[in-house]
Every structure is written in structure tokens, then in C-alpha cells.
């Protein structure tokens, strides 16, 4: 038998081909990134695109260093991340609590059904001016925006997951004399963790929308303010810098949620 038919050898080859494919995928991902930024830089320098409007990576980088050294960037970034995290946590927790109330009382859920449908259909950012008037032009109303934008959709998705839990799990608990709160804690809530996590992933994106729009309107601090200010004074390098930072932060938050997923959903681990 030649060594080509040896299972151990074939397994090594298989593992190598997997690793090679992984390397190629990473290579192309990196290539896209490098190509994008170099094309941006080159076309801006040669004025193929308007350097005033589209700026260039090198200018954004210089501005980044400048803003870091004078400390203003850290302040803006800190404010926005704080508002987004809080808005996103409040939106998800509040949505889950609302879903639990609806599950607890089917009567309440029937009453509220049309209101939830209307509230879900309504574009939440339209509430911005009212929130600012009501809560004052500060971070409270911006956090409220971040929360409001995700709370209704969280309620609807999590509630339908609560209702979708197999009745037989409830039956098992009831034969042990479990009360409604036990049924919720032992079966309904843990069975819905995967759904809650996936709404968290959606809510990361939604809360960024809410907070950035909130900062546009309040125009005092934060990355959203940097964008609106840069736009008004026609400093598009500033706009681009804020935009890139938002992308980076949102990606980091998304990764954090994925990490939480592996911690919370135990039975997915081998």
C-alpha cells in the first residue's frame, strides 16, 4: 500500500487544504481593504475624485493623530460609545421585560397587539425632536433614542420566541408543581436565549442609528456631532474620521455580543 492511501496522511492533507483555504480567504479580505484605501488615496491625490469632499486616508490619519493629542477625540468617542452601549442595553432589557409581561398575561397581549403593530411600523427617529424637548438636549434624550429604536422590535421578536417554546417543557414543569414564575425561569427564558442574543446583534446596529441621529439633532458632543459639524464647516476629513471610527466601534460591539453568545448558550459547546 502506498503512503497516499494511509488515512493519517490523508487527514494531514485534508487539514493542510483547510488551512490553505483559510489563508486565501484572509488574503483576499486584506487585499480588498488595502486596495480600497490605496485607490482612495491615489485618486484623491490625482484629483480623480474631489479631494475637498472625499478627503484621503492620509489626511484622515493626520487629523486622527491631531485629535488624539489634543484629547478632543477621546471625549467625543467616549460619549458616543457610552450612549450607544446604554441605549442598546436599556432597549434590549426593556424589550425583554415587556415581552415577559405579554407572555405572563395573554389578555394584556391581546389588548396591546394593535398598538405594538403601529409602534413597530412608525419610524422611531421621527420621535427625536419630541424626545429632545421632553428630556432636554443632553445625553438622556440621546440614550432614549438609542433605546426607543430597538425596544419595540425586541419586544415583538422575543415575545414570539417565548410563545414558541414547546408546551411539553411547560408540562414537565407543571407536573412538578411549578408555578408560572418557575416555568418562566426554568423553561421560557433559557429556551429563548438564542433569540435574545440574535436580537442583541440587530440592536447593536439599531442603537448606533438612534444615537448618531440623536447627536445630529442635539449637536453638542459625540461622533454624530463631529459628522454634523464637519458637514457644516465643509471639513469632510472630519466626517470621514468620525465615520471610520463608528464602523470600528460597531464592529467591536458586535464581536462582544458574539463572545457573550458563546458564554450564555452552554449547550452549543461540545
Amino acid at each position: 500500500m502506498s503512503h497516499n492511501n494511509d488515512p493519517g496522511h490523508l487527514y494531514e492533507t485534508y487539514k493542510k487544504s483547510l488551512a490553505a483555504e483559510k489563508r486565501w480567504i484572509f488574503f483576499y479580505q486584506l487585499a480588498i481593504l488595502v486596495t480600497f484605501f490605496s485607490a482612495w488615496e491615489v485618486s484623491s491625490r490625482n484629483s480623480w475624485i474631489d479631494p475637498l469632499i472625499f478627503s484621503s486616508p492620509s489626511k484622515v490619519w493626520l487629523l486622527f493623530l491631531e485629535k488624539i493629542s489634543d484629547g478632543t477625540l477621546a471625549a467625543h468617542l467616549g460619549v458616543t460609545v457610552f450612549e450607544t452601549v446604554l441605549g442598546f442595553v436599556i432597549g434590549t432589557v426593556l424589550g425583554t421585560i415587556l415581552a415577559a409581561l405579554l407572555w405572563w398575561s395573554p389578555f394584556l397581549s391581546n389588548i396591546l397587539d394593535p398598538y405594538l403593530v403601529v409602534l413597530n411600523a412608525m419610524p422611531k427617529v421621527a420621535l427625536g425632536p419630541i424626545l429632545i424637548v421632553g428630556l432636554g438636549p443632553g445625553f438622556t434624550s440621546i440614550i432614549a433614542m438609542g433605546a426607543v429604536i430597538s425596544v419595540i422590535i425586541t419586544t415583538l421578536v422575543v415575545y414570539s420566541s417565548f410563545k414558541g417554546v414547546d408546551d411539553n417543557y411547560v408540562k414537565v414543569l407543571q407536573t412538578f408543581g411549578a408555578k408560572k414564575q418557575h416555568v418562566f425561569r426554568e423553561a421560557i427564558l433559557p429556551a429563548s436565549f438564542p433569540t435574545i442574543i440574535s436580537t442583541l446583534k440587530v440592536n447593536v446596529g439599531l442603537s448606533w442609528v438612534g444615537v448618531i441621529v440623536g447627536e445630529f439633532l442635539v449637536s453638542a458632543k459625540g461622533l454624530g456631532y463631529m459628522i454634523i459639524y464637519g458637514f457644516q464647516v465643509f471639513n469632510f476629513t472630519l466626517v470621514m474620521l468620525a465615520l471610520l471610527l463608528i464602523i470600528l466601534c460597531a464592529a467591536i460591539m458586535y464581536q462582544a455580543v458574539e463572545w457573550l453568545e458563546t458564554k450564555l448558550i452552554k449547550d452549543n459547546l461540545d
Binding site: K171, V172, L173, F176, A187, I265, D267
Partner: protein, 257 residues
């Protein structure tokens, strides 16, 4: 002295457009330690009757007394096993098995040790820290048996607990459940589609008719079968005779084609 007494049980299901009679005039009594099987065509209300016995459903008419009390007054005196194991996938086998004790506030070192010992006795050693999906179907149904037995119920209600298993596993589990119930002197009511299972496990077989469910006939399983294990009953020379008698009765209840 009867342990379980059902008198004039009737049940209806309501829906906005109509109401459906599910059970009608069901009366019987069961002695302590007895094993009863309920068989009948689909839609005869076997599972409904089991839910009523467990206290999960309140019957429209009639009364149930278990040891002199209505079923919903008895906490953890009744164990229920379903078609599938319904072990909670996010809990370990140990957490699943101890769930009833925990909910009842009876979880302590001694009761926990007893339950783990029971797990080992039914052939599940060293799986306490594993999750249900790491076990085979038969092992999971065994763990579900351990979960049911952990609270030490007086009455066991078995709703086709072997129907989702392959034939070989099913025969093995029949023996296991039979031995367990006999050695702990438990009273049991089994719902099944399988006439052979009913004959091999029970002392008496209640035959129900469909819509509405009524007890049409009660078969006494001969003494020589009752002392044998289910697997040995299935191979007994007169097993097929009783099987055919019940088969004919069941056939006559099916709607004519």
C-alpha cells in the same frame, strides 16, 4: 381498597365555533401497585384522560380521587412521562434529574445522592455532567425516568413513553420501567398504541372507544403474564391468543372504510 378512583368523568373541548366531547362517563378504580394500560383508536381521549388524572386539566364533569385527594391538591405525588424525553437541553443530566426536587424545595445532599444512585442503577453512570444531546435516545428516556422518579411519586402516568424509540431500545426500556415500578411498588397508568406493550406490562387493559371516549371493555391480563418481564411475555406461547382477542375488539372500533 382502591388507590385511584375516577367517577363519571366527562370532558369537552371548547372552540369558538363548536364544542367537542372528548370523554364521557368514565368510571374506574385502580388498586395501589397496579399497572393499567389505556388503548384505543386515535382520538379516543387517552391522553386527555391522562392529563385529567395528573390534574393538568380539570374535567368538565366528574371527580378523581387519588389516595382520597383530588389530583391538583397533591404536589409531586404524580409523575408524568411524555412521548419524548423533554430533557431541558441547556441543563446537564444532573440538573435535569434534580429539577423536581429543586422546584419542590426538597433538594439536599441526601435526595441528590439518591437520585444519582438511581441514575447509576438504570445504567447511566458518569453522565451527570453531560448535556442531553450528547446521549442516545434510549439513554435520554432513561434520564427522563430518573427525573420522574426523583420526587418519589406515588402514581406514574406514562404517555406513550416508548413510541419515539427504536424497537430494540423500546423492548429494553419496557423491561427497565416494569422492573423499576414493581420494585418500588408504584401505581402506573400507561397510554399506548402497542397492544403487545399493553399485554406485556399491565395487570389490566382498558379499551376506549373514540368520540366521545368511553371505556368499552376491561381485559384482565392472566396471572402467568403478570409475573413475567415484558420481553418474556411477548415470547410466551399464549401471548398471541390474547393479542388477537384485543386486536379484534380494537378493529371493531375503527371506523369502517
Amino acid at each position: 381498597m382502591s388507590f385511584l378512583k375516577a367517577e363519571h368523568i366527562g370532558h369537552h373541548y371548547f372552540s369558538p365555533s363548536t364544542f367537542t366531547p372528548a370523554l364521557d362517563e368514565i368510571s374506574f378504580s385502580i388498586k395501589e401497585g397496579e399497572f393499567i394500560s389505556l388503548i384505543g383508536p386515535s382520538g379516543c381521549g387517552k391522553s386527555t384522560l391522562l392529563s385529567i388524572l395528573s390534574g393538568l386539566i380539570e374535567p368538565t364533569f366528574g371527580t378523581i380521587a387519588i389516595d382520597g385527594h383530588p389530583p391538583n391538591a397533591l404536589k409531586n405525588q404524580i409523575g408524568y412521562m411524555l412521548q419524548q424525553d423533554y430533557l431541558f437541553p441547556w441543563k446537564t443530566i444532573e440538573e435535569n434529574v434534580l429539577l423536581g426536587l429543586k422546584l419542590d424545595g426538597r433538594l439536599n445532599r441526601k435526595t441528590a445522592a439518591n437520585s444519582i444512585e438511581f441514575l447509576e442503577k438504570i445504567g447511566l453512570r458518569g453522565v451527570e455532567k453531560q448535556f442531553p444531546r450528547q446521549l442516545s435516545g434510549g439513554m435520554r428516556q432513561r434520564a427522563a425516568l430518573a427525573r420522574t422518579m426523583a420526587v418519589n411519586p406515588k402514581l406514574l402516568l406514562l404517555d406513550e413513553p416508548f413510541s419515539a424509540l427504536d424497537y430494540q431500545t423500546k423492548l429494553k426500556l419496557e423491561n427497565l420501567v416494569f422492573d423499576t415500578l414493581k420494585s418500588y411498588r408504584k401505581t402506573a397508568v400507561l397510554v399506548t398504541h402497542d397492544i403487545g406493550e399493553a399485554i406485556s406490562m399491565s395487570d389490566r387493559i382498558f379499551l376506549l372507544s373514540a368520540s366521545p371516549g368511553r371505556i368499552i371493555k376491561i381485559f384482565e391480563v392472566p396471572e402467568e403474564f403478570r409475573i413475567l418481564k415484558p420481553f418474556d411475555v411477548r415470547t410466551h406461547e399464549t401471548f398471541m391468543e390474547l393479542f388477537h382477542v384485543i386486536w379484534k375488539e380494537l378493529e371493531s372500533l375503527e371506523p369502517q372504510q
